[in-house]
Amino acid sequence: MKIIIVGDGKVTYHLIKNFIAKGYEVSVINDNDEYCDYLASKTNALVIKGDGTNPYYLNQSGANKADIILALTDNDPDNLYICQIAKSYFQIPKTFSVVNNPDNEEMFKELGVETIFNTTKLISLLIEQRVEVSNVSNLISIEEGRLNISQVILTSDSPIIGKTLKEIDLPHDIVFGCIIRDEQILIPKGDTKLLEGDKTLIITLPEKQAEAFEVLLGE
């Protein structure tokens, strides 16, 4: 699979690393000398220095043979242009774009961009969730966000109060790490009973996190 990324910053860097680790062929276009040098020394991506909205540089990055293009710049008109030219001129089948102004999501959809990451909306949503549900907190993410460890404090309306771990219908890909009860650390076993006020540490895949919170908090 051949992927072209037009973007900068840490997100682009980590994506390149992850994609290459998965065996994908990655090209990246960026117009900053220093950033290009950095990528070239730290990754095995094909690094093209130039304007990613210019068909010339897209062609150099192998756009004719690419399967996917990701437009991740902080400039929405650029991202739209990249995806459209990739689709109409180079016939790249899959186009992904970040939108920086949340209002542009609908617009991009109407103008033919296939998959849109509304980063501002996503981050605001995450912050909102955190602020609203304070008895849930994300402690750490490992492997660049592919595994989360979070803490959930069990409230009185939690449906699992008084049940043992064995009795809880826990979805797959969720593990009870430990329970902190009145400063005591308990390593949970099947017959450990859950009580109100328990701080539970759970290990989940990010996409299963909402499901886990639902089981623990009943929302």
Binding site: N54, L80, Y81, I85
Partner: protein, 144 residues
């Protein structure tokens, strides 16, 4: 005619002055407030200070009611986005875009958006004049 002009640079301001002088209803949008200083004192249209890639700004200009949109900013990707929003989403009957880099004009292939490229116009004009000069030289030569 109701005309929305996006970008009040050298081109946009001159176009706005021209159309306003011709008696059209003109609105000019630019994200830099000082850009409007380029308009002539006789300009009778409206100005809106804002980024035209933001939908609220375009709606403030009532682009959905415009007969024509003329997109003249210095940035081709901005022009492309605004022109498409005007044409495809707000169905402005006539959308005209200034092309800064001719390489980037391919995006308008197979669309109803009209393009004007100052670079290409210059080249065409130059070619014509050179051809004319050559033929004049030839004529002079044939006379002698």
């Amino acid at each position: 005619m109701y005309i929305v002009i996006i970008g009040c640079g050298k081109t946009g301001s001159a176009v706005a002055d021209l159309l306003s002088k011709n008696g059209e209803d003109v609105v000019v949008i630019d994200k830099d407030n000082s850009a409007f200083n380029k308009l002539s004192p006789d300009f009778t249209g409206f100005t809106i200070n804002g980024d035209a890639t933001e939908v609220e700004v375009l709606l403030e200009s009532k682009i959905n009611k415009a007969d024509m949109a003329i997109v003249t900013t210095e940035v081709d990707t901005v022009n492309s986005m605004v022109a498409q929003i005007a044409k495809d989403i707000y169905e402005v009957p006539k959308v005209i875009v200034k092309i800064n880099e001719p390489d980037k004009a391919t995006i308008y292939n197979n669309t109803d958006i009209l393009t004007i490229s100052p670079t290409d116009l210059f080249i065409d004009e130059l070619r014509d004049r050179l051809a004319k000069d050559d033929s004049e030289v030839l004529n002079e030569e044939s006379l002698t």
